[in-house]
């Protein structure tokens, strides 16, 4: 019995560190995503883009590993028995943000879409909004584990950025279909822009879940 009590704190600490690292990965991924698209849009950054793409892939891979470790540790050590399901759902939802970012960046790498110069600024703004949405979601999710009182502040920012990204996304789509690009290019760009916007949608879904979990966490 005494042995259990002594080892309980370090085990909890190690899980806390893993959860922290996982959130770092989400935030890193969002920051790199913004950088990746910016590099892609600059004509002579192909090598740099490949390097950023690799970094995002590694982050996504590491986050997957951390997610599995967190899940295993939660169940194996029966930590947070009443919130296990909520925590797992939150971590898995957050991991979907990483996956989507990785998918979008990889698609740009494989498809090498031709984006008209007049759309570059709007695409950069969209990526900035999406990245900020994800960063705020990462902070909100971390706050769920550390300081419940600020969860609402950051989820509110997530909602705001998601709305902004929807507006920008619609503007870009209108511009794409108003342009003289061939239809195939229009459809390709439309799909890519939709996928970028979906990153913010996933973050918004996470925020919805997080607010419910936060209510359940309250005593």
């Amino acid at each position: 019995m005494f042995k259990i009590k002594i080892s309980l704190f370090p085990k909890t600490k190690s899980l806390e560190n893993k959860i922290d690292s996982f959130h770092d990965k989400v935030i890193d991924s969002a920051v790199l995503f913004r950088k990746a698209i910016k590099v892609f849009l600059s004509q002579d950054g192909r090598e740099e883009y490949r390097s950023v793409n690799k970094q995002i892939k590694k982050i996504e891979h590491d986050a997957d590993g951390l997610r599995r470790e967190i899940e295993n540790q939660l169940y194996a050590q029966n930590l947070l028995p009443n919130l296990q399901a909520d925590v797992l759902e939150l971590i898995e939802s957050m991991d979907k943000i990483n996956n989507q970012i990785h998918d979008v960046v990889y698609k740009f790498h494989v498809e090498q879409p031709e984006i008209p110069a007049e759309l570059h600024r709007s695409v950069e703004i969209l990526c900035k909004q999406v990245a900020e949405c994800c960063e705020n979601m990462g902070i909100a999710s971390r706050a769920f584990f550390k300081d419940l009182s600020i969860v609402r502040d950051y989820t509110h920012k997530v909602y705001l950025m998601e709305q902004e990204s929807d507006l920008t996304c619609n503007e870009i789509k209108k511009s794409i279909f108003a342009s003289d690009l061939p239809l195939a290019n229009k459809i390709q760009l439309d799909l890519l822009i939709t996928e970028i916007d979906q990153i913010a949608d996933i973050a918004e879904d996470c925020a919805d879940k997080l607010l419910i979990f936060a209510i359940k966490r309250d005593i």
Partner: protein
């Protein structure tokens, strides 16, 4: 001695059922939510029930003896059996009852049969503690709820650290709860046998010894512990599932509030401390741990705004307060008559 142990069996049976039922009030949530293993919970509960009964069980037992000093073993046996049977009847009728109310009724039944006077002011004091018990438990729950909330807000405790604290808190609250249960409710199990106790004192190492009364309480507490080990597992699982909607911290608040109430009504040291400092003394009376739990759960439900007062449940408790002692006194009176006239046993001296 053989006859004594035979007559003691009714008390031991009540002790066993008390352990099977009330053990769940103490560790039900911790075990039900898998925060603690049943075996660990049962060991802690058993050790502390015995400690509470032996070290602080005399206060509430003395109050019962002042109500009616049952001085013949067959009489004590029948009072316990009448109480146990009343609880069975009440449970079957789905009326919330407690061993405390049943045993008080049985003692009054014995008083009436043996033409001994019943101290009505003491009866009213005891009855007032039954009403006070869930109310006080609710008040404690509200105070502890706000204090805990304030502490968590001020110290910004992380989720996992909070989980660790809650586990440790549930163990400490459970141990305290078991101690308080032993101290308060051993009177229901063994209180009526004090007047006819035939046990001797028990010498312990290092010059310590247990008085005959403490040995009697220890036997009763062992019966409670056996009840916890053999039959409380299922009850704990049920309680855990039912209170699962509550967070483990809220469950901890419930256990602590219930334990505090039981301790208040059982601790001779606290009783003397209050008297010596000119505070109003709290009577040492066995109260119901289940009703204390209900009081605390309702209070938390109220302040969280999730539920209103369950008047149906309160009605059941009030019916229990009135019906249990009356039925128990009646059953005891009739059984004593049968025991004395059919079996020719001396039920009072």
């Amino acid at each position: 001695m053989g006859a004594f142990l035979f007559f003691l069996s009714s008390g031991l049976f009540l002790g066993w059922s008390l352990g099977a039922n009330d053990g769940a009030n103490i560790f039900g949530t911790a075990v039900g939510t898998r925060m603690l293993r049943f075996k660990t919970a049962a060991i802690i509960a058993s050790v502390f029930v015995v400690l509470g009964a032996v070290l602080a069980g005399s206060g509430a037992a003395n109050t019962l003896n002042r109500l009616g000093n049952i001085n013949a073993l067959p009489g004590a046996f029948m009072a316990e059996l009448a109480a146990a049977f009343t609880i069975y009847l009440m449970v079957r009728s789905r009326i919330l009852t407690s061993s405390s109310q049943a045993i008080v009724g049985a003692i009054i039944g014995w008083n009436i049969y043996s033409a001994k006077p019943t101290d009505l002011s003491l009866v009213s004091t005891i009855a007032s503690t039954w009403i006070l018990c869930p109310i006080l438990s609710g008040i404690f729950a509200i105070i502890i709820y706000y204090l805990t909330k304030m502490f968590l807000k001020l110290h910004c405790v992380s989720l996992l650290t909070q989980d660790t604290y809650t586990r440790i808190g549930l163990i400490i609250a459970g141990a305290f709860g078991a101690y308080a249960l032993g101290a308060n409710n051993i009177a229901n199990v063994m209180g009526v046998f004090v007047g006819a106790n035939m046990l001797h004192s028990l010498p312990l190492p290092y010059g310590f010894s247990l008085s005959p009364e403490q040995v009697l309480f220890m036997l009763g507490a062992i019966a409670v512990a056996i009840g916890i080990f053999t039959y409380s597992h299922k009850t704990m699982a049920t309680v855990g599932r039912n209170i699962m909607q509550m967070s483990p911290i809220a469950a901890w608040i419930v256990v602590i509030s219930q334990s505090l109430v039981l301790f208040l009504f059982a601790s001779p040291a606290l009783h003397e401390f209050l008297i010596s400092h000119n505070f109003p003394a709290i009577p040492l009376v066995p109260v119901s741990s289940s009703q204390a739990v209900i009081g605390a759960v309702m209070a938390i439900g109220l302040i969280k705004g999730g539920s209103s007062i369950n008047w149906h449940l309160i009605g059941k408790i009030i019916i229990g307060w009135i019906a249990t002692p009356i039925i128990s006194a009646l059953i005891c009176y009739i059984s004593l008559f049968v025991l004395a006239n059919v079996f020719n046993l001396q039920v009072y001296n």
